[in-house]
């Protein structure tokens, strides 16, 4: 039954991709029954074809009310890109048999200072999580405004797939990611891929990072490298 379910979820994910999708990944995300608060700080560096070398910081705060409900807020400061963003997210977690299912709603605001562009993204997603992998499916609405003109893109499917070498409860892990979003942006058909990792020093401290390739153009247009970034950060959890 479970393997049939796994198969169906894989097929659903892929079918959804065929018609047209968010979550950032910091390693273990499930409430442990003890730590209600976590804050993470990370440093991102890399190269973007439009803005050149990029460097920035992101900061996140997450509060778990209980095993089901959590809220999350974040800020992104990309200095050389002159991109500044804030986001807020609410998430509901439920366990169905062996699956952890997370339903989330997120609002994201980005100011692309260099391009005089304001962008507001709204996303709803469901993440299916097992010990070694997770799949995210959702829908995103992206609105941008330049000058007095605004445009809301038609809904875009949000997709993420992530597999890890070790079970999610392990104190270290390395994973492979494949998704059309990152912490502070949602894309259409530009599908990121890369590696991520974490190492848990203690119940309070964890180090995480990722190497992310963001291509330009969909794969059907012979996508070429657009942005390559590396990220390292620390998470601190407390009661």
């Amino acid at each position: 039954m479970i393997s049939r379910l796994r198969f169906i979820i894989c097929i659903l994910a892929c079918l959804a991709m065929c018609s047209a999708s968010a979550q950032y990944y910091n390693g273990e995300r499930t409430f442990d029954g003890e730590h209600h608060n976590e804050v993470s700080l990370s440093l991102t560096t890399g190269k973007n074809i439009i803005t050149g070398p990029c460097i920035g910081n992101t900061v996140h705060y997450k509060h778990y009310f209980n095993d089901h409900w959590s809220v999350d807020g974040g800020a992104n400061l990309q200095y050389t890109k002159e991109l500044y963003g804030i986001k807020a997210k609410g998430e509901y977690h439920i366990k169905v048999k062996a699956f952890h299912i997370f339903a989330s709603a997120e609002m994201l605001y980005n100011r692309y200072f260099k391009y005089k562009t304001n962008e507001i993204d709204g996303n709803i997603s469901v993440r299916f999580e097992r010990g070694y992998w997770d799949i995210t499916l959702g829908e995103t609405l992206i609105n941008y405004t330049i000058g007095e003109s605004g445009y809301t893109e038609l809904p875009t499917l949000t997709f993420g797939a992530h597999a890890t070498l070790r079970p999610r409860t392990n104190n270290w892990n390395v994973g492979l990611l494949f998704r059309n979003y990152d912490d502070f942006y949602y894309e259409n058909w530009n599908i990121n891929w890369g590696l991520d990792f974490y190492y848990k020093f203690s119940a309070q401290w964890k180090m995480f990072g990722e190497f992310n390739i963001r291509p330009s153009g969909s794969m059907s247009q012979l996508a070429s490298k657009y942005e390559t970034t590396g990220k390292v950060g620390l998470i601190y959890r407390w009661k």
């Binding site: 439009i50 000058g147 038609l154 079970p167 599908i191 153009g217 247009q221």
Partner: protein, 363 residues
């Protein structure tokens, strides 16, 4: 029961493969996996090659001069995906000749990438060139010989004919394409550039003492790439110093999505906003986009954006009243007029094409 690591990897690979497959079929029809996985050129390489050509031959593109007449017009078509039958392209050329349109623009995916398809495309353009020369150049020969210093101006073809002494065969149909994603798969770029030389260029039409500027950008990979954006920022195109009246831009990959049936823009966020700002900075009157085979017409930040339907047989086997557009540009400050124009010819059989001298294969 925990899923094993082996299974996890298997599922991930499965998802990856299916995602890749979904990407393969995500834009224009008829995408082959080989073409998707093995691009022969990158946008940077194509733009470098184009700029080298443009540096030496850019002046030759810049030969239009509109003096005493009140208006001129040009035709724009997109996504012709020519296979054996280049009939729709020939029809577009005939319409232009009949109406006296000054030149033709094409938004990419001109032919699907097989040598015989390009041979037939080239043959159709050569036929159109022959008709164009007969209409516009032959009447000028006597006039040219009468001119004392070999310099004269003829408003019938609205060109500066000071270079008329150039070899007859140098005069070709004024057909200006951009490269599309289907033009770069397999060995597509070599076939395309053999005929059209460049994917990143511009020319101007002089109207009185001002100029209308026509800019052609290479977005066949779904991105302009860093070299092209750098060159744009460094004013690599030659006409930045001229007094510009209207600017028209042409590129393959769309920004705006006409409906849920079409795929969304593939420009990454920063690039999308860069491009929209650049179009406004250029004072663009109309930006033309292709790729999604559907019509969309909207104003954004002072720029009119027109996304074009395809003109190929597969999408429109019986033709249609609105497959290409004619843009009329006035001498005064009126907004350029856009009217949709029909193409109606039907796809011919291989036998008919063979009889007409086109190259037809069974494979």
């Amino acid at each position: 029961m925990e899923i094993t690591m082996k299974k996890s990897i298997l599922y991930s690979l499965m998802a990856t493969a299916l995602l890749a497959a979904s990407g393969l079929f995500s834009s224009c029809e008829k995408v082959s996996p080989q073409g998707v996985l093995m691009a022969n050129t990158s946008v940077d390489d194509r733009v470098k090659q184009s700029l080298i050509y443009y540096t030496y031959h850019g002046d030759n593109l810049d030969w239009f001069l509109v003096d005493s007449i009140e208006e001129y017009s040009f035709l724009v078509g997109s996504d012709s995906h020519i296979t054996f039958d280049p009939g729709r392209l020939a029809e577009m050329a005939e319409i232009g000749l009949e109406n006296g349109d000054l030149f033709y623009c094409h938004l990419g995916d001109l032919a699907d990438t097989k040598p015989e398809y390009y041979y037939n495309t080239k043959a159709a353009l050569y036929n159109a060139t022959r008709l164009w020369r007969n209409k516009y150049l032959e009447p000028l020969i006597d006039e040219y010989h009468k001119a004392e210093d070999g310099m004269f101006y003829d408003k019938r073809i609205k060109r500066d004919t000071r270079n008329f002494a150039r070899a007859w065969y140098d005069w070709e149909l004024p057909f200006y394409p951009v490269v599309g994603n289907h033009d770069i798969t397999h060995n597509g770029w070599s076939l395309f550039c053999d005929q059209f030389k460049t994917s990143f260029y511009e020319f101007t039409v002089q109207v009185g003492d001002k100029y209308d500027r026509f800019i052609f950008l290479d977005s066949a990979n779904g991105t302009l790439g860093d070299f092209q954006t750098d060159e744009i920022d460094n004013n690599a195109l030659l006409n930045d110093d001229k007094p510009i009246r209207n600017t028209f831009t042409f590129t393959h990959t769309n920004i705006f999505r006409p409906s849920m049936n079409e795929f969304a823009s593939t420009y990454c966020r920063e690039e999308l906003y860069y491009l929209l700002n650049k179009l406004s900075e250029w004072g663009t009157s109309i930006a033309f986009w292709g790729h999604v085979h559907a019509w969309d017409d909207r104003m954004f930040n002072g720029v009119r954006h027109i996304t074009m339907p395809s003109m190929n047989f597969k999408d429109h086997p019986n033709g249609g009243d609105d497959l290409i557009v004619r843009v009329t540009v006035y001498k005064d400050d009126r907004e350029p007029k856009v009217e949709r124009v029909g193409l109606y010819c039907k796809e011919r059989s291989k036998k008919e094409l063979e009889e007409l001298g086109y190259y037809v294969t069974t494979k």
